[in-house]
Subunit: 325 residues, 4 copies
Amino acid sequence: MIQVGIIGGAGYTAGELIRLLINHPKAEINFVYSTSNAGNKISSVHQDLLGDLDMKFTDTVNPKVDVLFLCLGHGNSVKFLSANTFSDNTKIIDLGNDFRLENDKVFQEKTFVYGLPELQRDAIKKANYIANPGCFATTIQLALLPLAQQNLLSNDVHINAVTGATGAGTSLSDTSHFPWRDNNFSYYKPFTHQHLGEITQSVKQLQNSFGSEILFMPNRGNFSRGIFATLYTNFEGTLNEAKDMFKAFYKDAKFTFVSDEVLHLKQVVNTNKCLIHLHKHNNKLLVTSITDNLLKGASGQAIQNMNLMFGLEETTGLQLKATYF
Amino acid sequence: MIQVGIIGGAGYTAGELIRLLINHPKAEINFVYSTSNAGNKISSVHQDLLGDLDMKFTDTVNPKVDVLFLCLGHGNSVKFLSANTFSDNTKIIDLGNDFRLENDKVFQEKTFVYGLPELQRDAIKKANYIANPGCFATTIQLALLPLAQQNLLSNDVHINAVTGATGAGTSLSDTSHFPWRDNNFSYYKPFTHQHLGEITQSVKQLQNSFGSEILFMPNRGNFSRGIFATLYTNFEGTLNEAKDMFKAFYKDAKFTFVSDEVLHLKQVVNTNKCLIHLHKHNNKLLVTSITDNLLKGASGQAIQNMNLMFGLEETTGLQLKATYF
Amino acid sequence: MIQVGIIGGAGYTAGELIRLLINHPKAEINFVYSTSNAGNKISSVHQDLLGDLDMKFTDTVNPKVDVLFLCLGHGNSVKFLSANTFSDNTKIIDLGNDFRLENDKVFQEKTFVYGLPELQRDAIKKANYIANPGCFATTIQLALLPLAQQNLLSNDVHINAVTGATGAGTSLSDTSHFPWRDNNFSYYKPFTHQHLGEITQSVKQLQNSFGSEILFMPNRGNFSRGIFATLYTNFEGTLNEAKDMFKAFYKDAKFTFVSDEVLHLKQVVNTNKCLIHLHKHNNKLLVTSITDNLLKGASGQAIQNMNLMFGLEETTGLQLKATYF
Amino acid sequence: MIQVGIIGGAGYTAGELIRLLINHPKAEINFVYSTSNAGNKISSVHQDLLGDLDMKFTDTVNPKVDVLFLCLGHGNSVKFLSANTFSDNTKIIDLGNDFRLENDKVFQEKTFVYGLPELQRDAIKKANYIANPGCFATTIQLALLPLAQQNLLSNDVHINAVTGATGAGTSLSDTSHFPWRDNNFSYYKPFTHQHLGEITQSVKQLQNSFGSEILFMPNRGNFSRGIFATLYTNFEGTLNEAKDMFKAFYKDAKFTFVSDEVLHLKQVVNTNKCLIHLHKHNNKLLVTSITDNLLKGASGQAIQNMNLMFGLEETTGLQLKATYF
């Protein structure tokens, strides 16, 4: 069994990793590190795990685990790896944004590979260190990459996306206070969301000539899980040509599917899927892309990367029952 | 007291009119017409009115009321007015979309004035027949008209807006079934919503030269009331110039205000207000506009129009306590 | 105009008082005291008030206002009145629980009258100092008092009630964090809620012999506003006898009504009403009682008390448009 | 592989069975019968299944399947079995309420065993025909049976429970219309819910002397999934004695656990678990019991029964990732 260590164990993405790993047939949780909760039962924080898991949080790491997941606030992965040493054989998957960009990808002689399987499955298989993509970044890239691969992104891209409240994490805040958030809607960081860097980097990896603008409006929805993204840009081909292109791009994808029907967010909640729908209006191609921000947008994709890195079937432990309601 | 008749009394907009009129100091409900509910207490349908109102629905109209509100499905106002005759002194306010467009505005020798007070307060004051604007149309126009007035809409306009479930009316439907809608998100009628006609018409009324595209994505949110719209377009001026322009345009507006702070939807729920916020990013001006779809987007604006038509203070009966939570 | 001062201006109940008072025809806000927000616009905290109110929070009180509302955490009214002196002519309405019980009602030679109008309208009219009832306490008492008045509470009373998240106030907490609260349900303080004291006191005021148990289960619902309470106890009479008794008890009530139809919570949201429904099953009488916890359960009832104390029509400024959706 | 047929394939419980069976390692869906949807893809109705399943609904049954799940409206299982013949080797699990009560349990020479594993695991293992318990019935029985087994139910039992909107099924209705249900709360069938029959029958199976009343108030919550039930009754022992008794009763249970901490509903959503918490107040024992109404309350328990009937490990295919948020 693959021995797994989790750092930052009290947050949402760590919780999701634990939920996935307790049912993963080839991996085993070795330790869950949380300084603030050390000594407490994991199920005292992730309370749905009662009956599933007796393990406690620890403040001691096992430096010899096979794989380490970093579930830390942005900037803290660098700090953690500077202060703690692991075996050279320990693979690392960082769920933060410390190593995602070209300029950040080498740290302590480790080279982090950007972990979007649909873009670079082969590189991931060979990687020892993975920078797991952001949630908005995953959802939006999967809507753009088939176009980029064909060098068809020649105009501005207009993106509007809504995320659930888990996207803002476990920290209490005014905009996650129930009386505020319930039945409310708002936006944040208009046109400047930090995931734009990853998105642009991946688009240029496929379409080096890309020089248009990506205009991205992120919104806060009054739901807990999921990202619903729509984007449009100029596209001269027919709708069928677009569908064929997307289906070809995703023909080997295990979790990304093109839907002929219009989508709604709950189709993917509590799954590792990304569903994509295409619509043509005059010369615009409208692409809808939906994911669960905590799974395909974070911990599910991290396990998918782990599976690839360890030579397992990509879907191992990720065939999840959707909630749907 | 102004005697009021309401046609189509069982729907949401009629319910809102009744809620407003029972506290209106200058108007009195004369009858509420609903063929399907005739003989039943109004409070058996609009159940919050228990204790406020003993009146019953009727299937007989009083043709001599001072003002008639038509709260019918689209297309049915024409049918109703064809089948029923009212006094020449009866003013009519149609909440449907039958008379909003230039080509539809004359019917039975009646000329309907488009009832957006911020655009044509003076014409409304003199009007006997009002076509009350649509909810998306109101929210979006109020974000565009100050720019149109200055002939500054010279590029495509990108609009994303989310509406609550009341926007789809009282008819039961799959996409308003609670287990589907709860914690969900979806879009409908991409780029082709029927309110585009009104919006374009009003923009051209102020900026005849307007020839760019309006790209409008309407979405279904998992809340009950309100519209949250964001739009952006090219704008060469500064943010302060934009603010000055919008504040000047709305200096006499009783319900439309420019906010220096970022907005969230619940600021306007259960009020007749439209709040607007401006943000500049590079050469793009981002305008946020929020309303309660049933009030400023429908019944509240209808009462506002009635007030203007009858020479009352525009805010009469519309100084509402916001719900906020 | 009655000059009003509000202490503790940043909380939910103060916000509701402000929303009510800006439209109250006989009262005027003189100052809103908040040490943490002094100098900031009131609309920067209560953000729906943009366009309604330009006033700022202050940290200075005007000791000569006609009426003072205390919107402080429990225990803090005593502290505040110990540290601040007001005119002898200043009436005080405390929305906290410092003066509600017989043992607490005299403070600094001021005698606080328990401000439930349905129970003691006449005493309130003559009072200078009011202890405004708790939200659960109001909702539950209004379901029990007609029985107590007839000395008919002879067995245990079983109460289950659900409150919205505003009931827990503005302080951020784990159980008001949106990802936790959304689509969730839980209980707290089983059988020991602090409002039991008030409830028992009022019941005994009408039925001195009352010696049975009141078993009260308070729950947290995943909505923002409102209390839905059901209670049952033995009752030997018929349903019609019960209805007659309740209707007689509330024949002069301005906001409490008996519904012949089954109730649902949103009938009272954003109103000052309490609706009551009766149902008989074998020898049990089931009483449903619903209120908006922030209005009839707090700030609305406080204004109702103010109206009575100043000789105004009880409903002044309280004829509110229900939200309903 | 166990060949499975599903009758009534378009409803919620059938959808959940399909979601469970596509990942079940020992069973395979042979056909999904739905007359109204015959010929359509299953993923056109259960739209989260896109990418998981290409099968279509059929209006033809395969009479030789190993097990048949009936997901029909109450009363329709009898009709269906009267009109259709299956192999003598076909086991049947009815998710409706046609065969749950002693008087109904023999039909066409088939004897249906009440399928609550915690009560009669051994009988289920030997059964060919199962009457799967109701959702409220499961949740409430699991809170009562340990007491009944010890003959400790000697007084009235007071139950309050809230269910999500999926409990009302896929049929559109006023009380499941989003603008009504959102942020609302209500009750239905006070003291007369149809599951009382099952509950009483099981209690008497363990405690034949039981003669007290079960007072059950069912409520509609504004969430989609789950049942949160609290009940209390007289109990003379200590809290620890109660805990020991419950833990002993459930020591072999695979999905029912006693929590030392207070519960909240989302701990069990999208799992097959029942969590139970005990609290003592004076002479009352308060028992909280929570389940997912569609899983432990319906389809999950049906699969659990299938596993037992076919000699599989009870948890096969039921180790589900909780949604939690």
